[in-house]
């Protein structure tokens, strides 16, 4: 029974407000990922939950306990730091047992828990080593092991994989997913990496300048972004957003009305290339970027904008060639003048 409740949480450093009122309910056993641009307050929010930053205003509940003024160590949370923060003067084993020792857990119990955690993370062979004698991935596992041994109710991760190389990152990502499945704890995870967010999260929280922009499952965020910011933040390459005027005519020719929308969003992977002169949009290919499985086309549209298109396989247009672009109705996202999503695209009366 460890849900988390954040109620109008605020944080100021001196006179600058960094977290500007966050409301969030995290359910028991849920894996929640915080994403957002650099400096938006992800780490700060996580550290407030951990008890490492004090809370300027608002309420934080872990379970049904108000923990605003509870010491970090007594909140029942464990944190995995970006730099791992392993104690350099202690061997792996002592690093993992340190928290238990501080809490005066008896030696045999300590030993047993460290062994269990080490076994589940394949660390047995490394227990006698010092952190400086470990590779990045091994350090990462020790950091996770240290968090596990205390049986926390909530795990907090602050960009735990960002110091690893790409291959290891994929591997550790799946280990963390497996860990969550096995332990079933509530986990909150901060990342820059979209793929990590999409693959790990039950729900993603998109933050921007200290506020929540949208909360939802990865699929919801991808398919039904609540606003322009989320639409462009989630998905890669980022969504094309064209002024409504540039597509209005071709749309109404098909009997579609964009109403009050000011912007139309189309994900590059949803656009297909058709013969020049046909399709919803016209333009000329200015650049082709071959990435292996797909090719990224930069298309200069008639209206002057550039659209990105993910093109795979057949009928590769040459650079400079005129093309038409087509997209299915359900893949078009409409936004009003405030950048809020309007949906669905209505068929003209």
């Amino acid at each position: 029974m460890t849900s988390l409740t954040l109620r109008n949480l605020k944080k100021s450093f001196g006179s600058t407000e960094v977290i500007k009122g966050v409301d969030l309910q995290v359910h028991d056993g849920e894996f929640v990922v915080f994403v957002g641009p650099s400096g938006c307050g992800k780490s700060t929010l996580l550290r407030m939950i951990a008890g490492l930053e004090d809370i300027t205003a608002g309420e934080l509940y872990i379970g049904d306990r108000l923990v605003n003024e509870v010491q970090a160590a007594q909140r029942g949370v464990a944190m995995v730091f970006q730099s791992y923060a392993l104690y350099p003067h202690l061997a792996v084993k002592d690093n993992m047992a340190f928290g238990l020792k501080v809490r005066k857990v008896p030696a045999e119990e300590r030993e047993r828990r460290v062994q269990d955690a080490a076994a589940s993370l394949k660390l047995e062979a490394l227990l006698g080593r010092y952190p400086r004698e470990l590779s990045g991935g091994q350090r990462q596992r020790v950091a996770i092991g240290r968090a596990i041994v205390g049986n926390p109710q909530v795990f907090l991760f602050d960009e735990p994989l960002s110091n690893l190389d790409a291959e290891l990152r994929v591997h550790m990502r799946s280990e963390i997913a497996a860990l969550h499945k096995r332990l079933g704890n509530t986990m909150i995870y901060v990342t820059h990496d979209q793929i990590e967010a999409m693959t790990l999260a039950d729900r993603i929280v998109v933050l921007r300048e200290g506020r929540i922009e949208q909360v939802g499952s990865p699929r919801e965020l991808y398919e039904r972004p609540a606003n322009l910011f989320v639409a462009q933040f989630i998905g890669s390459p980022r969504m094309n957003v064209l002024p409504a005027a540039s597509v209005e005519k071709s749309l109404s020719a098909r009997g579609l009305d964009i109403g009050s929308a000011e912007g139309v969003g189309m994900r590059p992977e949803h656009i297909s290339v058709v013969e020049a002169g046909s399709g919803l949009l016209r333009g000329a290919v200015t650049l082709r970027e071959y990435t292996g499985a797909t090719t990224l086309l930069h298309v200069a549209l008639e209206g002057g904008e550039t659209a990105l298109v993910v093109h795979n396989g057949q009928n590769m247009p040459e650079a400079g060639e005129d093309v038409g672009l087509e997209i299915a109705r359900e893949h078009m996202h409409l936004f009003d003048s405030q950048g809020q999503a309007i949906r669905p695209l209505a068929r003209a009366g």
């Binding site: 550290r47 490492l52 160590a73 949370v77 944190m79 730099s83 923060a85 928290g99 501080v102 240290r146």
Partner: protein, 282 residues
């Protein structure tokens, strides 16, 4: 004949070494002369100078023990230096930690105050401190020789040195300690201190030497022979006319200096680095 680059380099290097050796003479010579004269008789000292004594007079060392309680004085210096070092380590690392890592009202002001204490020589405050120590009934005890260095500008220097070092310890490590349930004191003791061994060593070295070599305070506060510290004892080898008893004085000085020099030669790298660290701060 022109020189090749290699030969030119060899020549310039040789010149450099010769020049340095010449400059080194007044740095080395006093030590050699001190040790050698400590073995000479009172008459030979003023005879034909020679680095090697004609007769090695080991008796000098026995005589100096009779002249004043030199062993006792030696021990005084030793235990006072150890006490000053231990206390300075404890107090400066506590304060240095708070100044590096904790947020509290008045921290900025405190730093400023301490910085001001850093620069002021002990000569400025020695007169009121004399009355203070006297009113505490601590005249002719070792207490002022421990208290004044620990709380004086040297202690402040140690505090800043520790603070500087603590600032460089990754914050996340201490936060991990907090998550593990350590109190502030626990973080200081079990994380910050074990990670600051180089700084602790530096503070130990310079503090020990500072106390070992202290002169003004013993001069002002100590009057009985058996409470003298080494520097005071060394300055005290005179005959009944007040003229120096050179052979005893130099033998005693050798006894005080040579062990330090031996330790210095063994650990010169570490010792020099310690001074560099404290100097950059000061």
């Amino acid at each position: 004949m022109t020189l090749t680059t290699r030969q030119a380099r060899l020549v310039s290097r040789t010149c450099l070494i010769i020049a340095l050796s010449v400059v080194a003479v007044p740095f080395v010579f006093p030590f050699l002369w001190m040790v050698s004269s400590g073995f000479k008789s009172a008459t030979e000292i003023f005879g034909q100078p020679s680095l090697i004594p004609r007769v090695w007079r080991w008796q000098n060392y026995l005589e100096l023990l009779e002249y004043q309680p030199f062993a006792r004085q030696y021990f005084n210096s030793l235990y006072i230096a150890v006490a000053v070092t231990v206390l300075t380590l404890a107090i400066s690392s506590l304060a240095g930690y708070a100044l590096a890592r904790m947020r509290f009202a008045g921290a900025g002001l405190l730093m400023l105050f301490l910085l001001s204490a850093l620069m002021v020589p002990e000569e400025v405050t020695i007169i009121p401190n004399f009355f203070l120590i006297r009113s505490m009934g601590l005249m002719d005890t070792h207490a002022p020789l421990i208290l004044l260095p620990v709380f004086g500008s040297h202690g402040v220097m140690a505090t800043f040195l520790m603070r500087q070092y603590f600032l460089a310890i990754p914050k996340e490590l201490e936060e991990a300690g907090r998550m593990d349930g350590l109190s502030r004191f626990g973080i200081w003791w079990r994380i910050a201190l074990p990670m600051s061994r180089p700084a602790l060593a530096a503070v130990s070295i310079i503090t020990f030497l500072f106390s070992w070599n202290l002169f003004l305070e013993p001069l002002v506060f100590i009057s009985s022979l058996e409470k003298f510290t080494l520097p005071l004892a060394l300055s005290n080898f005179t005959d009944s006319y007040g003229l120096p008893l050179w052979h005893l004085q130099l033998a005693a000085t050798s006894l005080a200096v040579v062990p330090i020099l031996i330790v210095y030669l063994i650990a010169q790298r570490q010792i020099i680095e310690s001074f560099a660290l404290s100097g950059v701060k000061g």
